[in-house]
């Protein structure tokens, strides 16, 4: 179905506005939530509850001086944030955020473009988005951004594989690559006979394909460059990483791109694993829940849930070391995805042969569990017996029974009291003593 032109433009503008507004909200939301987690209020001055803080910050950023450092590659330097932002926005074009509604008398579905390979469009957009980061790092012509860009390049390649593999399970379950049809496939549960009763089984893939969901969640954190995987901009190691040399609006664009990418990835996760715009269980009992504009609300709420998870991760987890990060991507996520896909294929072919089904399933299940356990079994290294000077795991740390050496001042103070020391500074000394 082809929309009329003004409806297309309306949708494009609407999605753009939605993403920008959600970005502004998320920045505030993140600061408030992290603040609460750290026992402090967070921004609370501008507007009610500090809601307008991000708007104020954005305006300030726009009026800052735009610095173009000497030695940058001008074209690429300017192009990089544009690529980043464009790619981030593009992904949302295929995500459905509601069923058919009526806009000014036109029946249309709440989705900009329905493409038969919808999910791949989002992946392609995120793949292009990396160029922004990598090129920003390279074109800055200085060391920290370059390191950030290189990390980002390796990171994206690694995590895209895990992410792509985790999505394969959804494709297999839904038999389609189209976002709209994936949502439709999660609409109804499968009827199942349990103890003589008809039970409606859940149809959201988060329950059906939980391992995929887990891998996907971890991967999108890596894909969006968010903590604890924000190695490309790790401020404690690389100053600002790829955006160290950026300022003013160009920096703002990167900022925007990061948050929009978060929203898009959350939208994709909702679409693929949480039933898209369908109302969650207690609400779905209400007959009107999945009609009209209501689903837009459910969708937004689910996306908010994911955004909260992003913030939560950032608020609680320390940043990974680079090699640990690569280890996780290549040696845990990718093999786990592969095993899981093979397991699903096995289950499918077992479902086809009705005869030996039980046998098949048992064997497959056992093999799968054994493989997974064998792989994920924690490798215990023998802990060396603790000696006097071996600290945690052999690293030199201060001994626990450390005796603090006496303050050299103590002698002098005693001398002062005895009247032999210098007269000046004795008042201060007395103050200090109180503090000590």
């Amino acid at each position: 179905m082809i929309d009329v032109w003004w409806l297309l433009i309306l949708k494009v503008v609407g999605i753009f506005a939605f993403l920008v507004l959600v970005t502004l909200f998320t920045i505030w939301f993140e600061r408030r939530v992290v603040g609460r987690m750290q026992h402090r209020p967070g921004p609370n001055r501008v507007g009610p509850f500090g809601l307008l803080q991000s708007l104020a910050d954005g305006l300030k950023l726009a009026f800052k001086e735009d610095i173009l450092p000497r030695g940058v590659d001008r074209w690429v330097f300017v192009l990089a944030p544009v690529i980043s932002t464009t790619a981030a926005f593009t992904g949302f074009a295929v995500i459905p955020f509601g069923p058919e509604v009526s806009i000014f008398g036109e029946q249309t579905s709440l989705q900009l473009a329905e493409v038969p390979v919808g999910v791949l469009v989002v992946l392609a957009a995120s793949a292009m988005g990396v160029y922004g980061v990598v090129l920003a790092g390279w074109s800055s012509g200085s060391t920290y951004p370059l390191l950030g860009g290189m990390r980002s390049a390796a990171q994206m390649i690694s995590y895209e594989i895990g992410m792509g593999l985790s999505i394969v399970a959804v494709f297999m379950a839904a038999s389609t690559l189209s976002t709209r049809e994936i949502v439709a496939a999660q609409a109804d549960g499968t009827p199942y006979q349990l103890l003589g009763m008809d039970v409606q089984l859940p149809s959201w893939y988060v329950l059906l394909l939980f391992p995929s969901f887990l891998i996907f969640m971890i991967s999108i954190v890596g894909e969006t460059n968010r903590a604890p995987f924000d190695l490309a901009e790790a401020e404690s190691e690389l100053v600002g990483g790829f955006h160290t040399e950026y300022s003013s609006l160009k920096f703002a664009l990167f900022f925007l791109a990061e948050y929009v990418a978060m929203v898009v990835m959350s939208g994709l996760a909702v679409t693929m694993f949480l039933g898209g715009w369908h109302a969650p269980w207690p609400l779905s009992l209400w007959g009107e829940a999945n009609t009209g504009w209501w689903p837009f609300l459910w969708f937004t709420l689910k996306v908010m849930g994911f955004l909260f998870m992003f913030v939560w991760l950032r608020g609680t987890l320390p940043r990974l070391r680079y090699d640990q990060f690569m280890h996780l991507g290549w040696k845990v996520l990718v093999p786990a995805s592969l095993v899981w896909i093979i397991a699903i294929s096995g289950i499918r072919s077992a479902a086809r042969d009705e005869g030996d089904r039980a046998l098949w399933l048992t064997v497959l299940g056992l093999v799968f569990i054994a493989a997974l356990l064998g792989y994920l079994w924690p490798r215990r290294r023998p802990v060396p017996p603790a000696t006097a000077d071996s600290g945690a795991g052999g690293f030199p740390v201060p001994p626990l029974d450390l005796v603090v050496p006496p303050n050299p001042r103590a002698k002098r103070l005693a001398a002062t009291r005895a009247g032999t020391g210098p007269a000046s500074g004795s008042g201060e000394g007395a103050d200090d003593e109180k503090e000590v």
């Binding site: 082809i2 590659d73 790619a87 990396v130 052999g394 050299p408």
Partner: protein
């Protein structure tokens, strides 16, 4: 936003494309996109050869690949178009960039001809070959109308590709895995340096070395600072060489540290 609009425009085009293409027709939208992107693709290809800087070269190539991907999408092959973006522009060219960044931005080809006149001959022959192929194809394909698209995409583009891949070309598809294994083994053989045990320094060993006897575990003074001490008790020097009282905390002089106490502390031997 450009891309979003392209996708938006392509969405309807995809629905309509099979019917039009089967009739040997090209929609106006497809023509417009083609005439916009064809020069981009061609310019990218030329730029890739002509650019002096390797990273610019790679970027031009990315442009060309991206334009081609849009062409695929327009020609009712959305799957191959997206895979082109994800795999080629997304992963492979990214690896290229990664390597170029490792090599460094100053790396460029030497432009010395070892065979005289080689470059001119190559350009001439290349242009000649391109003209030959282009004119032959123009002549050969000028009056040809597309056929079979509707049939190929009958059950959907992805399903069509899957059906061909897993029936007629199943053996070629499986054998491709041999190619991939060979490539992986080759990369290991040519690039992997197996370090003997002991040559690799772990974080633990580095840490030990730093705190070993006789070494200096603290922060070193920053560049450009001629410091004999990094103690807070050492005052900064004024331009005339004198000591600045304001550079140290008020309480520090009261401690009256000796110079030995203020000197950098090495670990005990």
């Amino acid at each position: 936003m450009i891309l979003a609009q392209t996708v938006a425009a392509a969405g309807p085009a995809l629905d309509a494309a099979p019917a039009l293409a089967a009739a040997g027709d090209v929609s106006v939208g497809e023509q417009v996109v083609f005439w916009i992107l064809a020069p981009v693709a061609l310019g990218g290809a030329i730029g890739m050869v002509a650019a002096r800087n390797a990273v610019h070269s790679a970027l031009f190539l990315v442009t060309t690949m991206f334009a081609l991907a849009v062409f695929y999408v327009l020609q009712a092959g959305p799957f191959i178009g997206m895979v082109q973006i994800i795999v080629y522009t997304g992963a492979i060219m990214m690896l290229f960039l990664f390597v170029l960044m490792l090599v460094g931005r100053e790396a460029s080809d030497s432009l010395i001809e070892t065979l005289r006149g080689q470059r001119m001959a190559a350009i001439g022959l290349g242009i000649g070959f391109a003209l030959l192929v282009a004119s032959a194809l123009t002549r050969g394909l000028g009056a040809v109308s597309a056929q079979g698209l509707e049939e190929a995409n009958r059950g959907g583009n992805v399903e069509g590709i899957a059906a061909v891949l897993f029936t007629r070309y199943i053996f070629a598809f499986e054998v491709t895995s041999a190619l991939l294994i060979t490539a992986a083994v080759g990369a290991m053989v040519l690039a992997h340096v197996e370090r003997p045990k002991g040559m690799k320094v772990s974080q633990k060993e580095r840490s030990r070395a730093r705190f070993a006897e006789g070494s200096y575990p603290g922060m070193k003074a920053g560049p450009g600072v001629f410091a004999t001490s990094d103690s807070v008790a050492t005052p900064a020097l004024l331009p005339d060489g004198g000591e600045s009282d304001r550079s140290i905390s008020r309480v520090v002089p009261a401690r009256g540290l000796t110079s030995a106490e203020a000197a950098p502390k090495h670990t005990e031997r």
